[in-house]
């Protein structure tokens, strides 16, 4: 109780810094968020000169389509943070590693970063398999704040794998599935038949199962006509497209990403699939830049048009800075990275403020992070005692490469409450 109160004060202090009155400024900027709140302190100087931030994302292979924008965002944010007062006066330095190589390698990389490179915090991992392998090791070593920025497996929370130093600043496949199912039922209340088209590995199967369970719970008379699973990085979807054309479902659900998403969109467009059937894309935000046909249901875990950059300066500044540096709007992994890095920054700063020290120890940082809520370019991130973020979801209808009819699903409506198993919760919807 006491801790929660103090943490609340700290969060309040953090938030005050980003909502500092901007009376004299004609063009207020969202990057005010990045400034370090200054506190007078009486404790002896234990200040660090350098804050080493380990960042692990895919830099090679097909998943680098996520990893590279994520690293771009990391570099952008670290530069901004360093200009705006660093983290508690320590200059942030990135220590970057490639996520390619599989779970065993990621465990080795984790050990190397934490025990040899001596990073002060670890942010990384897109692949769920990598997170599931690294989480127990991170908890076991227990020396380094570890933040998974993207991987969407619900097992991390359902199996209570994040207890000590491990956090995730994003939602799960349940968030995707429930948000999409809710939106589908809003815009297609009469949906009768559905076909699933997902990649044949844990992520694709989870995405489909969570969407299907949510949809069937909320509308039990929907019929699943078929469940198609394709090999990862298949370049040809003609057989699946043929089958969907023959089955004529009202709706197709897919969580394809990367080249698979692009190949499916192109091949299905050429065959006229979208004129016959509506498709709900769980990770369709990328497709918006790759010829996504109009009138499809698209979920991005983030979308650069939300929250409206005109109203929300933090997003406006992020989008502008990202475009001017990298030439295209930030895709959702860039937002995921921002959620994680800003979380690390605020957790350290608020912990230092609450403990009234120059440099907080890890246990203080963890306690604070468990109860932190903070603003990021794409959302307000609410961390919970199960070390997972309550994250909302953005769903909309595609039109001319943009999302229209945007709807933000509140975090509390698309995530199970703390302590409730995902499947149990979905069945209670």
């Amino acid at each position: 109780m006491g801790i929660a109160f103090v943490a609340g004060l700290g969060v309040g202090a953090g938030l005050t810094s980003l909502m500092r009155p901007q009376v004299s400024q004609l063009t207020p900027t969202g990057t005010a968020t990045l400034e370090t709140p200054k506190y007078t302190t009486v404790s002896p100087a234990r200040r660090k000169e350098v804050f080493k931030l380990g960042v692990v994302t895919f830099q090679t292979g097909a998943a680098s389509i996520f990893g590279i924008p994520a690293l771009n965002a990391a570099q952008l944010l670290v530069d901004q943070i360093n200009q705006a007062g660093e983290i508690l006066g320590a200059k942030v330095e990135l220590v970057v590693r490639d996520e390619s190589g599989g779970p065993d390698k990621m465990v080795a990389v984790y050990r190397e970063l934490t025990q040899q490179a001596g990073v002060d915090a670890y942010v990384g991992l897109i692949s769920s398999a990598d997170c599931l392998a690294v989480a127990p090791v991170a908890e076991d070593i227990g020396t380094t704040l570890t933040v998974f920025f993207d991987c969407a497996t619900k097992q991390l929370v359902d199996r209570g794998m994040m207890k000590k130093v491990t956090f995730r600043t994003g939602g799960t496949t349940v968030t995707d599935g429930v948000a999409l199912a809710r939106y589908v039922l809003e815009v297609m209340p009469d949906v009768k038949t559905v076909v699933g088209l997902n990649q044949d590995y844990a992520y694709g199967r989870d995405e489909w199962a969570d969407f299907k369970n949510a949809l069937l719970t909320m509308k039990p008379d929907v019929k699943v006509l078929d469940e198609l699973f394709t090999p990862l990085f298949a370049t040809d979807y003609s057989a699946q497209i043929s089958k969907i054309l023959d089955l004529r479902p009202d709706l197709v659900h897919t969580s394809l990403w990367g080249p698979d998403l692009v190949n499916f969109i192109k091949q299905a467009t050429a065959r006229g699939l979208f004129q016959q059937t509506r498709v709900a894309f769980a990770r369709g935000e990328f497709g918006l830049y790759e010829g996504m046909p109009d009138d499809q249901i698209v979920e991005g875990p983030h979308y650069h048009g939300f929250p409206d950059p005109k109203a929300y300066y933090i997003n406006r500044d992020f989008v502008e800075a990202y475009i001017s540096r990298f030439g295209s709007p930030p895709p959702y992994p860039a937002y995921h990275m921002a959620n994680a890095i800003l979380g690390v920054k605020y957790a350290f700063e608020v912990a230092a403020a609450v403990e009234n020290v120059e440099w907080p120890d890890l246990s203080a940082v963890v306690k604070i992070f468990e109860r932190l809520a903070y603003a990021t370019p794409g959302d307000y991130i609410i961390m919970t005692p199960n070390h997972n973020a309550m994250r909302g979801a953005v769903v909309g209808i595609s039109k001319g490469g943009k999302l229209t009819a945007l709807k933000y699903m509140h975090a509390a409506e698309v995530n199970p409450p703390v302590g409730v198993l995902s499947d149990q919760w979905v069945k209670s919807l």
Binding site: T60, G61, A62, A63, S64, I65, I68, P69, D200, D226, E227, L228, F229, T230, P231, F233, T235, D236, S238, A239, Q240, I241, S242, K243, L245, D246, G258, P259, V262, N263, K266, Q267, T269, A270, R271, G272, E290, G291
Partner: protein, 281 residues
Amino acid sequence: MINALVAFYAFFLNLLAVSIGMAFIYGVARVLNLAHGAFFVLGGYLATALITRLGPVPGALATAAVLAALPPLFYLYVRLTRNELEQLFATYALLLLMEGLFKLVFGYGNYTLADLAAGLGAASVGGQRVPYAYFLAGVAVAGLMATFYLLLYKTRLGLYMRAVSDDREMAALGVRSPLVQHLSIFLGIFATALLGAVAATWQAYTLGLSAEVLIYAFAALVIGGLGNIWGTAAASALVAVARTAVVMFYPELELLVIYIAVIAVLLIRPGGIFTRYARVA
């Protein structure tokens, strides 16, 4: 039924496109090129980049010109190796090297000509849309197969190639085997990259695809018989039938079907279904 046929046709073209060049090079020159997929992908990247910048005809010509310059480089590279093991290492290293270069030159985006191809429109067959681009790609692949056929069976060089393919030592009595092998490497690499360019009309190219392509190429090669290009073509058709049928009737098996086919062939006819006699190495 029309839809099933289109699915078969599209996947058949796909498999043929990724495997023929590799089969040809292995057949004549006995180079097992692990960088095969990278050349296929390079063709796709280059065609997309050049055609979207320069327009269809100049872009296609520029692509062909650049691709024609590649094989000699590859040949010089492979010549550094002394035996098959070194070849595997060297060509695998080349695969990684080329992936690195792709990232440097083309970035992490998706490269595809599918939009351009979609602009050609579609025919209506039995009430279903069949894109004209599919027919065009079919013509291109068939043209290449015909060229291979004419080359192998109607020219002196083709005769030499078949002789070298059958028995390098015996052929060496009357044919300059190394020269013939070099020429076949040239042709195989060029054809692979060209087919990669053709495939850009239906698929997107991105980082990491080089290794993925290799799996399909190997499957077609193993089933058809190593180095047997007609066998590889027949194997492509067989796998396409099996895959289409699986997706239509029991989609749960799709991930496995190609591996099941490969394993079955290795168990029953390790030399490949369409190999008439086993070669003595």
